[in-house]
Symmetry: C2
Subunit: 105 residues, 2 copies
DNA sequence: CAGTTATATAACCGAGGAGGTATTTTCGAG
DNA sequence: CTCGAAAATACCTCCTCGGTTATATAACTG
C-alpha cells in the first residue's frame, strides 16, 4: 500500500483523523463536527477507508469509524530518510533504538 | 508556515526532494532526471520554494537548488501525535530522548 | 554589441477532485 | 409490512493544478 500523501493533503480528511484519534465516531457525528453535508463526509470516509487510514465497524444502521495507523507508520518511515537533517541527536537515537530491540528490558 | 501536505502530495515534487537529499542540483539536471519540460520543473521548484522546502543559491545563470528540511520537521511533529499508535516502545523511547536532552553525553 | 546558455514567466488546456442535491440502500421499531 | 433513521451512491458543477508551448529575462562569451 503506497503512502497516501494525496489523501492526507485534504484538510477535512486530516480533521477526521484528528477526531478519530480521540475516539471512534459515527458518520453523523463527523458530519456535525466538520460542517459538511452527510454525503460529503461519507465521500471523505470512503477515500480514507480505501487508503487504509480508517476502518468501519457496523452496528445496526450505524457505522463506527476508527483509526488505522499503519499508513501513517509508512509515512514515518519515509520521513526517516530526511530526519538526520534536523534531528541532531538522530544517530545516537538510532543506536538506542537498536539497543532496545536487542535487549527490550 | 503550515505543513505543506498538498505540496508533498505531488509525486514529481517528492522525486525532486529525493534527488536533493543526495546533493544540490541545477534546474537542468532535475529536468533531465524527471523527464519533464524545463518550465514544468521550474514550476514545481517554485511551489517547493514557496513552501520553504527548498532554497536557491544563484551562480551566474545557474541556480543551485538545495533542501530545506524545516517543513519536514513540522510534518514529523504532526506525526508525533499518532506515533504511539504503532510504536510499541514509543514511551520508553521518549524517556530516552528526554534523558539525552538533559545529559547529552 | 551579438549570440548563447540557463532559468523564469505567461497563456492555455484537460483531467481530477471536492462540494452540493437528489436518490437509493439498509436496518430497526412499531 | 410500513415508517423512519443512518449512511452510501449517483450525478452534476466548479475550480485547482499539472502539463505543454511560446516568450521573456538574465548573465556569460567572444
Amino acid at each position: 500500500m503506497p503512502i497516501p500523501f494525496d489523501v492526507l493533503a485534504e484538510p477535512q480528511r486530516r480533521r477526521i483523523l484528528d477526531l478519530l484519534l480521540e475516539r471512534p465516531r459515527l458518520v453523523g457525528e463527523l458530519t456535525a463536527e466538520l460542517g459538511l453535508s452527510q454525503p460529503g463526509t461519507s465521500k471523505h470516509l470512503r477515500v480514507l477507508r480505501e487508503a487504509g487510514l480508517v476502518r468501519v465497524r457496523q452496528d445496526a444502521q450505524r457505522r463506527w469509524y476508527e483509526l488505522r495507523p499503519e499508513p501513517l507508520a509508512e509515512l514515518d518511515a519515509w520521513l526517516a530518510h530526511y530526519r538526520h537533517l534536523w534531528s541532531a541527536s538522530f544517530d545516537r537515537l538510532e543506536r538506542h533504538l537498536d539497543q532496545l530491540k536487542d535487549d527490550p528490558s
